[in-house]
């Protein structure tokens, strides 16, 4: 349908216009307008598609489109090769040549023109489209205000906002392409574009650190891309006319046929969603400006990786191969959560938390039962909303307090009250009942318990979940611990674009939880029923009780007004020492002492390096095991 193509092509058009426009205030207006159009477009598209029960269509001149894609691919490869040679990134050079060469060779193996739908849009695609269209656009609006501040703070960075925003919109268009297309080669094309956007956006500052991290991200993602391309050889080997290039046909063919290509594409998914041992690129990508981290590296691009694995979940169900994928996800969840406890850099905590949650989604996809897929889609929805909120808040806070360290965020609830509250909403949304991620984790636990060999995953989830509780709560505590230094409220310095997008996403976070029964009923359950024939749920009573909790949660803050007027405030306790009006303690000889309190980071018990190494080794072992199960044919 036209709206499908509009969503893919309109952002590309906007990007083109943005590249051509000179630096001018009109650009900001254009970006905001385009973003609002995308939001409206996505919502309308979702409503229309859901009421139609899904979409499937081909387009004329599909051959021309494929040819155009190949040309663009070659151009991209040339560009990447130029850069990798110029900066002496030899491994990247080799990998890009390998990927492009193999892809072009695979194209030559395609002898016929099998019939199939170029685009298939079901409820899962609609879910992803809403995330991309609404959250992605809101982040673009946020970026307008943020990047203005960014260049004011970093005069040494070349102002290339024209290219920056163009890349953001190209990326959005490519993501729509990923979730709408049914032709795996076209999917690969859009996948490639997201890799390139990520590379260029990570390297925006183009200082030594950014370059290093950008190329490392490129390296690992291209490595995954080679796995993707390898799948084409298998698919075309089965049928050279390319009938199994259509995802729905491939999945319908069942594990006997599809397990090997699904695993190869799944490997690509693992790299894109930064599962161990490929996690380091995502952590390194945090050097990019915050909108990049929010958009690509938490809510959208990395979701493309898990999207593709969840698509193949029916193939992985009940297989040893699928279970090994699930273990990769589960081990990643545990290890990444453990590392997050030791980090005080806010963006790194968010990065590791993202990796951990993606691990849970991969674990669900690897199990592949109807319960697990239901949990996986819920995880995708709620994680995207809450995590993007947190990234945007951290970005705003960082510009105000000039630091990314959680230890410097003490008492931020007094200095930036509304941002502080929204950060608390975001953090609560990541792990507290009755918010979305808790619901998703609950669903995940149920899926694990019912799965074969699921006990291992239950154990990983139990311990990992305890760790996530720890680092989120201590962050929340830091935000509300006002130690008495006088805080002027400098919230009016925050730009309107930042404020409005953060507030909107915060409202969405709460709304998504309140509307969870509807979200499940109209968006997720139809997809699950369509594949497995029956739906999962948490039980009617549980949903009611959770809604009660949410209402309580939202109403209880009203009691603050009651407490405000009825209590008299007295000084804090420090062994009986006196306190002055500024909240400092009075020492001997009239000296005044500030209080410095810092969180536990458990660094004696856990170290980032050690945990990452152990996690990487285990997961490398698991990937080898995946390969073994495929070779020995014991997969199914």
């Amino acid at each position: 349908m036209d709206l499908t193509l509009f969503l893919i092509l309109f952002p590309a058009l906007v990007a083109l216009v943005l590249m051509l426009l000179p630096d001018h205030p009109l650009r900001d207006t254009l970006i905001k307008a385009a973003a609002l159009i995308l939001i409206a477009g996505s919502v309308i598209f979702a409503a229309l598609t859901l009421s139609a029960g899904g979409l499937a269509f081909s387009i004329e001149n599909a051959g021309m489109v494929s040819l155009l894609m190949q040309v663009i691919e070659i151009l991209i490869a040339v560009g990447l090769l130029y850069l990798s040679v110029k900066y002496r990134q030899h491994i990247v050079t080799v990998l890009v040549i390998a990927q492009t060469g193999l892809f072009l060779y695979a194209e030559t193996l395609l002898t016929g023109h099998a019939t199939g739908f170029a685009f298939v849009v079901d409820e899962f695609s609609v879910v992803m489209a809403l995330i991309i269209g609404i959250i992605g656009s809101l982040i673009c609006i946020y970026a307008v205000g943020y990047m203005k501040d960014f260049h004011a703070h970093h005069p040494e960075v070349k102002d290339n906002r024209r290219g920056f925003f163009a890349l953001l919109f190209i990326f959005l268009g490519a993501m729509f392409g990923v979730v709408f297309t049914n032709n795996l080669m076209w999917l690969f094309f859009f996948w490639e574009i997201t890799t390139v956007c990520s590379f260029l956006l990570i390297g925006y500052k183009w200082d030594e650190e950014s370059q290093k991290n950008a190329f490392w991200a490129l390296l690992l993602n291209v490595l995954g891309g080679i796995g993707f391309v390898a799948a084409f050889f298998v698919i075309l080997g089965i049928d050279p006319t390319g009938s199994y290039l259509f995802m729905d046909t491939l999945i319908a063919a069942g594990p006997a046929l599809a397990l090997l290509p699904a695993s190869l594409i799944g490997f690509a998914g693992l790299t894109k969603s930064a599962q161990m041992p490929f996690s380091s690129w995502l952590v390194g990508a945090m050097v990019a400006p915050t909108p990049v981290s929010a958009l690509l590296h938490s809510s959208t691009m990395v979701k493309a990786g898990v999207y593709i694995i969840v698509r193949f979940a029916p193939i992985f169900e009940g297989t040893m191969t699928g279970f090994c994928f699930a273990l990769v996800g589960g081990v990643t969840f545990l290890m990444a959560s453990a590392v997050a406890v030791t980090q005080s850099n806010a963006k790194r905590v968010l990065a590791y938390s993202t990796i951990a949650n993606l691990g849970l989604i991969v674990a669900c996809a690897g199990i592949g039962t109807y319960e697990a897929v239901w949990a996986a889609v819920l995880l995708i929805i709620f994680h995207a909303v809450a995590k993007s909120l947190l990234f945007l808040c951290v970005g705003t806070v960082e510009h105000r307090i000039k630091s990314r360290d959680i230890e410097d965020m003490g008492g931020i609830i007094a200095a930036l009250p509304r941002i502080g509250v929204m950060m608390i909403v975001g953090i609560s949304g990541m792990f507290l009942a009755p918010f979305g991620m808790l619901i998703s984790k609950w669903a995940t636990l149920r899926a694990f318990v019912d799965a074969q060999h699921g006990i291992i995953l239950v154990a990983l989830l139990g311990f990992g979940s305890a760790l996530t509780l720890f680092f989120w709560t201590k962050w929340m505590g830091k935000l509300i611990a006002v130690t008495g230094r006088s805080f002027e409220n400098y919230e009016n310095e925050i730009s309107r674009s930042e404020f409005s997008s953060i507030t909107t996403i915060a409202i969405l976070t709460v709304a998504a939880c309140m509307l969870f029964p509807l979200v499940s009923l109209y968006l997720v359950e139809p997809y699950v029923i369509g594949i497995y024939g029956h739906a999962a749920g948490l039980g009617q009573w549980n949903v009611i009780i959770m809604l009660m909790m949410l209402v309580l949660f939202l109403m209880l803050p009203l009691s603050v007004y009651h407490f405000r007027n009825s209590h008299s405030v007295v000084p804090r306790y420090l062994g009986g020492r006196a306190m002055n009006e500024k909240g400092q303690f009075l020492g001997s000889l009239g000296r005044e002492w500030d209080i410095e309190m810092s969180n536990y980071y458990l660094t004696e018990q856990m170290q980032e390096k050690g945990l990452a190494t152990k996690g990487n080794l285990v997961c490398i072992g698991l990937i080898v095991l995946i390969a073994l199960t495929l070779v020995m044919g014991v997969g199914a």
Binding site: A459, L469, I545, L552, F563, S568, V569, Y573, M597
Partner: protein, 285 residues
Amino acid sequence: MNILMALAYIVLAPFVGGIVVGIDRRITARMQGRVGPPLLQPIYDILKLFEKDKKIAREEISFYALCYLIFMIFTGALFFLGGDLLLVIFALTLAHVFLILAAYAAGSPYSFVGAERELIMVMAVEPMLIFVAVGFYMVTGSFDVSAVMGYGTSVIVWLPLLFIGFLYILTLKLRKSPFDISTSHHAHQELVKGLTTEFAGPTFGMVELAHLYETMLMLGIVWLFFAANPLIALLVVIVVYLLEIFIDNATARVKWPFALRSCWIAAIIFGVVNLGILAYLGGVI
């Protein structure tokens, strides 16, 4: 849905809990060679706290303490209603997070460290609690407390190790030595009053009241292992509580890394192993 039980819990738990804690204090006193306070002393103490002046270090503390109390009552009521055990555990976590936030909000050193310690404690018990719920599910096929209550045989038959693991963390939950690392009811403090240092008057009263509700909830979970044999269940609850009192008086406080590590090792040895045996030999047993 057992509404009567839930209502009975909401209304009676403070009194029954108060008497239980009162018995605790008397027996503890006797073990220490003292006479001990009257049996209803805990209730008298809480009533006295509510009569005191409303003084607080920061107003938000009272808000968080109220949330802790409300959600603790909610959690217990959900449990006695026969609801989903996983949701009970998650709601319990939520309640504890509010308590921890109350201590953080004070912005005072002892309170802050107490909050960190309490967070360590919550992290230490979380895996075991989840495994308990999963264990009940594997035996009865449902996460609902009402299903366990209605099950023909006491689930302890299949979950003996799990029970021992739960007893291990029960010490932590009841704030008994050697795991009273964040705050303690006894006079052997480490951090002044740790977590509750900045709580006073009615605010502190709410926290103490919530602790009574929590105690009854924990004893309820102990009961659940023997649900099909009520008399034995009652006996076990009494013996377990006496055992906890004994351990409390016989041990010294441990360091928090040890507490965390040992609880997690207990969760693996008793929890995961029991669940594993059930998963793989469940068909045989």
